[in-house]
Structure formats: structure tokens, C-alpha cells
Point group: C2
């Protein structure tokens, strides 16, 4: 390959490694797949006891950050903790209803899981507890199996079972370092899914807000709208509507104020609690519940009862519980990871995805033992936590203690809280999930992503939350597969006065070299695309020859494939190149390769295809390859 | 971006297209996905009647090649047709037994489908009929639903139903131009699956070959071995073993002779028919069937009876039929496409995958109406067809006519054919499916492919044919997903005396440029890998800085990302780059991009990320980018 006919120093193409080290290759793959964040780096060159302590610290990050914890940090965490507690208490009661559970379960879920997370989690800003989307999803899936009105105990037990398996799913993914699987749900699909779920949740709240008694159990737009308008004349309760709508207006104004001026972030944060106190007091003194204003009625006092023995570890509900748990666990994980990463990027600290999953999993497993349902990081409360100046996960501990006191002391006071207020709190919380700015950005950047986003959105809104989720996942996978099967190819031309070859569509002043067709393949060549790539190269050739014939120009003699982007090739790819070579031979066209990478060179060599094509037809750069085709024309080359 | 401080003519990076043409982009994607073979090219600029004729020709390729058909071609086709007929008749009877059907159904399936294929198919070499692997798969799947011994009629009807839906599946995939889906089964997985299926089939033939009466219905190695050795003392019939083993030896020797000298390809081709004739005659004169040699006993005379009204279009077997049909149809499709492509490459003609699927689908639909079961292209018979000198699909018509005559006249003569002969014919036919040479090549080229191959092989052998198929598909998808989630990245160095930057691991003499880290990302950046890529780049940086600190060298000031292989980026990718930029800003490191493609430039622009990074930090070539970092050092650059 050493051409000395040029005036340049010609480098050889990196030779195939003399010995394919299988074990090394395998180790690299395993490392990049499962340990790409190099978690063992800090363990290098440490004493045994130090290693043990580091290991313990890895499981309980509180041991690391706890040692530098101080009063100034605590001040921030205290304020943030109190703020998110005031926000979470009314939300919890509402979300529990969304999941089809009694209100106290929402509070239970804001007590144990945040405590556990504080010890094991590595995010400093996330606020743990029940969230709207997961509550809705869990409620929908559970109600498809058991009617909570008929069998409240079984329903509750299935909820704990699902929570347990959601935790197991999360823990297992983290422990097996399969955290990257969460990345398979594309950002665009998540935005669409969340937006659709928010709309669905808001619509379902019309039941509470308008005081409608007979309401559909389906979550799609059409069923809900039928329920709403079907009951206009006899089902709406004017006192409820008045109460609900005025407090909703108050909450939305509070939200608007908080958005306009970040200093006033606490206005929307304490708005819900103020609404609850005011509305409860109002109902209590006017006894509006006797006029048909629906109220919470009963909420159990005391801390979480144990629920280990309520979980279905056998029987017909086991598989159902596993199925629902896996789905709810994955959705909860997606939400938590998105939040964790967002805030980690804002404060520039690293988040270990797998460790985070272990923490979330443990927290849900322990939760399922203590009457909690699936919890995760909440978008709205985490944002408030961040703005209120939280410094560490201690804010979650503060919130947890406040919820504990609430459970022990003041739950009975929620008896007269009108459902309409809970509905308006939920609506004002979920409107933030409709991230229209992200949608506009997605539209601008990538139209295909936009379709994915809209697909998931309309799927959730019109066909229900499970179908929407399925659409989101299918679209994400479809996109991956499409790009893998139909990679791009480009014809390259030479930029005038240089030896740089670029896509002639991107650079109109690049000119084709007479007698040579240069094609760049923009992807690794695998079984899924090898046939397409071969056919596409032959089609470029056919198009070019047709054009040349029409113009009466000489035909193509050399076809150079620019391999820089071809980072890998498999057996099918090698076969495709063999076929390509044979087809070209029959037409008297010489196949040449430019700049194949290590993996490709190794495999060309292993398959002896490099002998067939000819070692002198494989070049380090496009310039070398073109020079070899026209050994005399060194004009116009720098 | 126009630097005039160098002595080179500097080209600008291809600007973002002023107007993103959504419709054009969409059209291109649709075209490349579904019409990548440009099927409408020939219709351009034609009169309406010509277009109609061309359309008709596209559906029935026989109209195209039939017009140039002549006597010399017919001679080749006649000989090839007679040869494959002599091979297919005994195979058909055996394969029908493999599918759990009566022997005549095998012959039926070699009469109608090849005729239809001859009119619609575009491969010139493929031989259509029942094949071993599909027969086994169909038999296994059907017997899991219905016991053919108890309900022979229902079993048969379900077989037709499955055949109908196999045809519908194939037709639909072709008609909707989804043919590329077949490419998702990787070559390596197919080799492993076929090999495993061949071993399984051969093992099952021990029943016939050894004359065992009580034989397992499972297809896995362990069950079969138990049946074989469990009946050593009382279940083997010595006359059967003698007959079977001696004819098997004859057939294998014939095969060996055919392989040694291609001129004698007809020896293994007519071997089976000679064996059948000899063995049948032998049993007839010795009446060995009275000594326990099992014989065919009854085979119905006459052509295919209609079976339209036996297909389950409603009822409980409808969904089962659809499920089995889809699986069998896809496997049949994979086999036919592999054969078609192999021979098309050998004779250098184009095969339209989608059109081919429509032909195969139609042939199976029509087959299901005329008492045929799923047919496809046979590896062994197609090879014989090719070697016997077939020129067009007329050889299939010849074979079909011979089978017709057989059905009309001589089927009763098969009464005394011993099952042992059919078993030895099947064994000698399937040994060719164990493609150990391909396995060795796969091992040499790609270790991961080898694992996929072995996974499918052992899956089929030890866990049964459906599980093996599932493993093959899972491994194929797993491989795609792995490569999409964990793309490679490389640190680049400068080759001495050039402006060429290459992977320092592949080119050890490439040297890093002081103060600059150059990372190449070898993949499109999508949601599935954007987080990994960002983290991996930061890890390269951390490794490099650790090393520099240890050596007391100055730290990195510029990080250049070589974007040549990054052919596309989506919203998540843009977010990852934003995060990367922020992280680097905090460390006072300048992010630079070299040679982004059209799609990437467009999206950087749409997201305004190019303004954030700085237009003067995006370069056409690595050389330009490095020159910009060290404006004074033009030393060592050509």
C-alpha cells in the first residue's frame, strides 16, 4: 500500500491487529455496555478497609455528603422541605384518589419512600412522592382488573403487589446495570406521553370540579366529554362548581405570579395548602356538604400500617401484579431519571443512573411493605424544591417528618375538604406537564421526533394511557429500526483547491472527479442494512451512468467507497461487499475503499475479502484513492 | 468562518438549507424506506397503454421473459425440471409426514404453488415446494394445538388456515413494501437456526430409520435421545435398521460424489427416487411389512381437492391459525429470500424483494385453497435446479406437470414404500443445511455473530424449534439495540507529516496535539445513545486530564468533536450537546465541532445551538479546527 508516486508522505492503512484478542474485545464490550461510567475508578489502589467504606458510601451516598453537612445547608433544606411538604400534602390526597385508593395512602407514600431515598439516592434536588401520571397509570391498570368499589381490600392488596414488583423491576435494572434501557424511550415520546397524560388527568378532574356523580371510568377524551356534557342538566352541582372554579382561578393566578418572578416561587407552592384550609373551613361552617358538595369524608389517622402480608406472592393476582408493577415501575423510572438528569445538569454534578435505580427500587420495595403505592420524583415538587434552595436530600427528610406529623395529628381535619379543591389542585399541578415549549422546539429540530411526540400525545388522549404508552414505545423503537435499516449514503465531490471530499448536495461547489464515483456510506454495515447499502450503491452507479450516457461523457471506471463513517461490519456486510465486488467486476469497474476503521480492516482480513479486492485498493484517505485512479493528474491538489 | 490566516483556501461548512423543506424530507424518507429500489423508474415517460402493459409485466414477470423464450432455454429447463421432480417426489412424502400430514399433501404442495410461482416470481433458479424446516415448524406448532392422531380433519383444516394466513402475511408485507423487515433476522442467526433445525429433523428421523414405535412428540435433543435409547432393547426393528442405514449410506455416498465432481450433480439428485423404487420393490417382494417394517400404507390418488371451505375464517381456531401462519410465513419468507438472493447474485440479476413476496404470498393463498400446506423455496432442490442448467421458472412448470402425472397415475405404487427410506432421504437432504463452513467464517469475522449463531443453534436443538426461533430473533434485535445504545468513540491523533487525523489506537504513530483533545463519535446521535455519548466524551476528557496531571503537562484547552460519522442528530442529541457545552464551559474548555453533515448543521441551526457554541467554532475539516486552536503553529503541516 506504500505508494511513492505521490509527493506526499503516504501512510498505510492501519493494519489488522496481528492477533484478534477475543477476551479483550469481549471485556471492552461488557465494560462499555454495563460499566460505561467506570464506577470502580475510585476503588483503584485503595486499602481493603477503605474499599469497604467506599462500597458502603456507594450504596448510601449520605455517608459521603453527610460528613460535610452544615447549618447553612440545613437552612436551605429546611425551607425547601417545608415548602414541598405544604405542596405535597394536598396533592397526595388528590393523587391517591387518582390511583383509586383512599386518601391516607397518598400521605403514607410521602412518608416512608422519601426517607429511604434520602439515604440512598444521589440526586440533591428530586422530591420523592406520589405523582400524577404514575397514579393515573396505576389506577387505570388496577381498575381494569378489580373494581375498587366492590372489592376495596383486594384492590388495595393488588396495588401493594404492583408496587412491590415495580420496586423489584427498578432495583433489578439498576443492580444488573441495565439502566440504559430507560434511554430507549425517546425524549420526544416522553414529552408527548406526559402532555397527553396531563390532559387526561385534568379532564378526569372535571368529575370533582363540577360535582358530577355518574362519571365514566375510561380515561379517553370522548368518554370523558360524554360524561361531562351528558350530565349538564341534572348532574352539575352549582356550589361545587363555584368553589372549584374560583379556587382553580386562584391557583392558576398563583402559578402565573410564581412564573413571572422567580422570587415569588413560594406563592404557587403554598397556594394549594391555603386553598385546602380555606375551602375546608368554608364547607365546615356552611355545611355545604349537605347541599351536595362532595367532601373527603373519612381519612384514617395514624402512621403507615404494615402491608407485607397483603402482597400477593402466590395466586391468580401474582402475574397481574407483576405485569402492572413492571409497567408502572418503568414509567416511574423514566420520570425520575428525566428529573434527576435535568437538575444534575443545572447544578453540574454527576448522577449515576444505575445507583439511582437501586435507590428508587429499594424505596418502592420498602414502600410496598408499609402501605405505600408507587412513588417517584415529582416534576412540580422537584422544581419547587430547587427554587426554594434545597442543598441536599435532607429536604426530603424534612418533608417526610412534616407528613408524619400530619398523619399523627391533623388528618381528621381533612374530613370536610371538598373534592372540588383537590380536583383544582391536581389540575393546576398537571398543567405544567404540558410542555408546549419543548414541543415547539421538537417541531423545529426534528419532524420525525414531532410525529413521535404527537403520536404518543393523541394516543394517550384518545385511546387511553396504556395505548399511549405503547404507541410511545413503538414509535421510539420504530425510529431506531428505521435508521438502522435505511442509513444515508452520499455521493462525494472534491472541493476546489483542496483534497477535501464532501457531499455534493451539502457543498454545491464540490465537483465530481471524471471517471470516478465516490460514495460515502453513513453507517455501520450490519445484517439489517447490508442489502440496502449494496443496492443503494448500485443505484447511485446506475443513476450516474445514465446521466453520463445522456451527456455523452466517458463511463465510470472506479467506484470508491468512503468508509470513514463505517465503524463496523458484520458477516452479512462482508457478504454484501463480496456481491458488490462481483457485480462491479462484471461491469469492469474497480472497487476501492477509503479509510476503513480498525474493526472493518480486521474483518476484511479475517474474511480474506481484502485479498479479493486487493490490498493496493484500500487507502488511508480519499485523496490517496483518487490519486491512485489518476496517477498523472496532480493538478489542482495542494 | 472564513479564516484567511492559513495559506490554504478555506471552505465554509455547508450552510443550513435556507428553508427546511418538510415535504421533500418526508418524501425522501418514504422513498428510501419503501421504494429504495426505485420500482417506478421504468414507468417514466411512457404512454398510458405501455404503462398498463408494464404494470401487468411487473405482476407477471413471465410476460417479460416469456417473449424471448426459445427452444435452447427450454432444453435446459426440461432437464432441470425433470431432475428436481425426481428429487421432490420422495422428499414431499417425507416432509408431509414431518408436518404431521398425510403423504399426498406433500405432493399436492408441489403441484399448484410452483405453477403460480412460475407466472409471478422473478427468481430464475428457485425450486418451489414443501421444505424441511417449515414443515417441521408447522408440524410442531400445529401439534401443540391439535393431536393429528385424534382429530385428523381438524388438524388438516388448521394447517390450511395457517397456510392461508402465511400467504396473507407474505402478500401483505410485499404489497405494503415492508420487505425489509425480513432483513431483521441476521444472517448468523439464520445459519444457526437452520443448522439446529436440520439436526432436530435428522434426529426425529431416527424414529423411521430405526423403526421405533413409541416416539416422543417433542423436538428437543434430550426427549429424542431418551426415546431412541429407551427403546434399544425392544423397540428397534432390525429389518428396518438394515434397510434404512444401507440406503442412507447409499444416499450420502451419492451426495459425496455429486459434491466432488459438479458434472455428476445428477447422482445425488436421482438417488432418492432410485432408493424409493428399489426399496418399495424389495418390500413388495419380501413382504417385509409383515415383519414390522413400517410402510406408507395408503396414499390418496388424484389431484388436489379444493379446500377453501375447510379454512377456519371464524371460530376458536382462527387466532391460532393466524399466529401459526404468521410465524411459518415469515420463516418461509426468510428462506425463500435467502435462496433467491444467493442465486441472483451468482447469475448477476436483480431480484425485487417486495414483488417476490407478493408472488410467494399469492402462491400460498392459492395453495391453501387447493389442499396445499406452506411452501417456499428449497435450498437443496434450488441448488440442483441451478446445477442442472435451468434457465427460467419453466423448470418449476415441468416439475409441477411431473408431480401432476404422479398424482394421477402412480401414487398407489407408493403403498409399499418403507418409512425408513423416507427417513434416510430426509436425513440426507437436511445434512446440507448444517452449513459448518459458514459457521467457521462467522467465527473468524465476528465473535458476536458467532454467539448469535450458536444461541439460535442450541436453542433449537435443546429447547425446540419455536424457542430457537425466538432466540434467533431476540439476539438479532439485541445486537441492533446494543450497537445503537453504545456506539464507539475514538481519540484521534495527527499522522506525522500530514493533516490527517486518525484513531490513535489503530495508528500508533498518530500523535495527540498538545492542549487539544480530539474525539470522534462513530454514530448518529439519537435519544438511545445521547446520554452515553456525552458521558463518554467527558470520560475521555477525565482520563486524559488525569494522565496529563500525572505527567505534569499543561491541561486541555480545546475539545474538538469530529462529527464526520455523525450523520444525524435528534432533539435528545441536541440536549446532550447543550449539556456537554455547559459542562465544558465550567472547566474553561472550548468545545469545537469538525465537519458536521447537512442534517446536523440544519438541526444545530434550528435549535440555535450553533449560536451558543459559536459559528466560528464549527469547521469543515479537523485541520482547520486544529489550526484555529494554535494559530501560530503551522509547522509540520503540508
Amino acid at each position: 500500500m506504500d505508494h511513492s508516486n505521490g509527493e506526499h508522505i503516504i501512510h498505510k492503512v492501519g493494519a489488522p491487529s496481528s492477533k484478534q484478542n477475543l477476551m479483550k474485545e469481549f471485556r471492552t464490550t461488557v465494560k462499555e455496555t454495563f460499566f460505561s461510567d467506570d464506577p470502580l475508578r475510585q476503588f483503584k489502589n485503595q486499602t481493603r478497609s477503605r474499599k469497604f467504606f467506599l462500597g458502603l458510601q456507594a450504596i448510601f451516598p449520605i455517608l459521603a455528603w453527610g460528613r460535610t453537612y452544615n447549618l447553612s445547608k440545613f437552612k436551605g433544606d429546611l425551607i425547601a422541605g417545608l415548602t414541598i411538604a405544604s405542596l405535597c400534602i394536598p396533592q397526595d390526597i388528590g393523587y391517591a384518589k387518582l390511583a383509586g385508593l383512599d386518601p391516607q395512602y397518598g400521605l403514607y407514600s410521602s412518608f416512608v419512600p422519601p426517607l429511604i431515598y434520602a439515604f440512598m439516592g444521589s440526586s440533591r434536588d428530586i422530591a420523592i412522592g406520589p405523582v400524577a401520571v404514575v397514579s393515573l397509570l396505576l389506577g387505570t391498570l388496577l381498575q381494569a382488573e378489580i373494581d375498587p368499589a366492590e372489592n376495596p381490600t383486594e384492590y388495595c392488596n393488588l396495588a401493594f403487589t404492583a408496587t412491590f414488583f415495580a420496586g423489584i423491576t427498578q432495583f433489578t435494572l439498576g443492580f444488573l446495570r441495565l439502566g440504559f434501557l430507560v434511554d430507549f424511550l425517546s425524549h420526544a415520546a416522553v414529552v408527548g406521553f406526559m402532555g397527553g397524560a396531563a390532559i387526561t388527568i385534568a379532564l378526569q378532574q372535571l368529575k370533582g370540579l363540577l360535582g358530577i356523580k355518574n362519571f365514566t371510568k375510561n380515561s379517553d377524551l370522548i368518554s370523558v366529554m360524554k360524561s361531562v356534557f351528558g350530565s349538564v342538566h341534572h348532574g352539575w352541582n352549582w356550589q361545587t362548581v363555584l368553589l372549584g372554579v374560583s379556587f382553580l382561578a386562584f391557583l392558576l393566578i398563583a402559578k402565573f405570579i410564581g412564573k413571572r418572578n422567580q422570587k415569588w416561587f413560594w406563592v404557587p407552592a403554598i397556594g394549594p395548602l391555603i386553598s385546602v384550609v380555606l375551602a375546608t373551613f368554608l364547607v365546615y361552617i356552611t355545611r355545604a356538604d349537605k347541599d351536595g358538595v362532595q367532601i373527603v369524608k373519612y381519612i384514617r389517622k395514624g402512621i403507615n400500617p404494615p402491608s407485607v402480608k397483603h402482597i400477593y406472592f402466590t395466586g391468580k393476582y401474582l402475574t397481574t401484579g407483576i405485569r402492572i408493577g413492571v409497567v408502572a415501575g418503568l414509567v416511574a423510572l423514566t420520570e425520575a431519571m428525566a428529573i434527576g438528569r435535568t437538575f444534575a445538569a443545572m447544578k453540574d454534578y454527576q448522577l449515576d443512573g444505575n445507583k439511582e435505580m437501586v435507590a428508587l427500587g429499594t424505596m418502592n420495595i420498602m414502600g410496598s411493605f408499609t402501605s405505600c403505592y408507587v412513588t417517584t420524583g415529582s416534576f412540580s415538587r422537584s422544581a419547587v424544591n430547587y427554587m426554594a434552595g434545597c442543598r441536599t436530600a435532607v429536604s426530603n427528610i424534612v418533608m417526610s417528618i412534616v407528613v408524619l406529623l400530619t398523619l399523627l395529628v391533623i388528618t381528621p381535619l381533612f374530613k370536610y375538604t371538598p373534592n372540588a379543591i383537590l380536583a383544582s389542585i391536581i389540575i393546576s399541578a398537571v398543567v405544567g406537564l404540558v410542555d408546549y415549549k419543548a414541543v415547539i422546539l421538537i417541531w423545529k429540530i426534528d419532524k420525525f421526533d414531532f410525529c413521535a411526540c404527537m403520536g404518543a400525545f393523541f394516543g394517550v388522549v384518545f385511546a387511553g394511557v396504556e395505548i399511549g404508552l405503547l404507541i410511545a414505545i413503538s414509535i421510539s423503537f420504530g425510529k431506531i429500526l428505521l435508521h438502522v435499516t435505511r442509513p444515508r449514503t452520499a455521493v462525494l465531490g472534491k472541493l476546489p483547491g483542496s483534497t477535501v471530499y464532501r457531499n455534493i448536495e451539502q457543498y454545491p461547489d464540490a465537483s465530481k472527479v471524471p471517471g470516478i464515483l465516490i460514495v460515502r456510506v453513513d453507517s455501520a454495515i450490519y445484517f439489517s442494512n447490508s442489502n440496502y447499502i449494496k443496492d443503494r450503491i448500485l443505484r447511485w452507479l446506475a443513476d450516474e451512468e445514465e446521466q453520463l450516457t445522456a451527456q455523452g461523457l466517458p463511463q465510470i471506471q472506479h467506484l470508491i467507497v468512503e468508509m470513514s463513517p463505517v465503524i463496523d461490519i458484520d458477516t452479512s456486510g462482508i457478504h454484501a461487499f463480496e456481491d458488490l465486488y462481483k457485480s462491479l467486476q462484471k461491469r469492469d469497474i474497480q472497487l476501492m475503499l477509503a479509510n476503513p476503521g480498525t474493526a472493518v480492516i480486521d474483518k476484511l482480513h479475517a474474511s480474506k475479502l481484502d485479498d479479493v479486492i486487493g490490498h493496493d485498493k484500500i487507502f488511508l484517505t480519499m485523496a490517496d484513492a483518487v490519486r491512485c485512479c489518476n496517477p498523472n493528474s496532480t493538478i489542482d491538489e495542494v
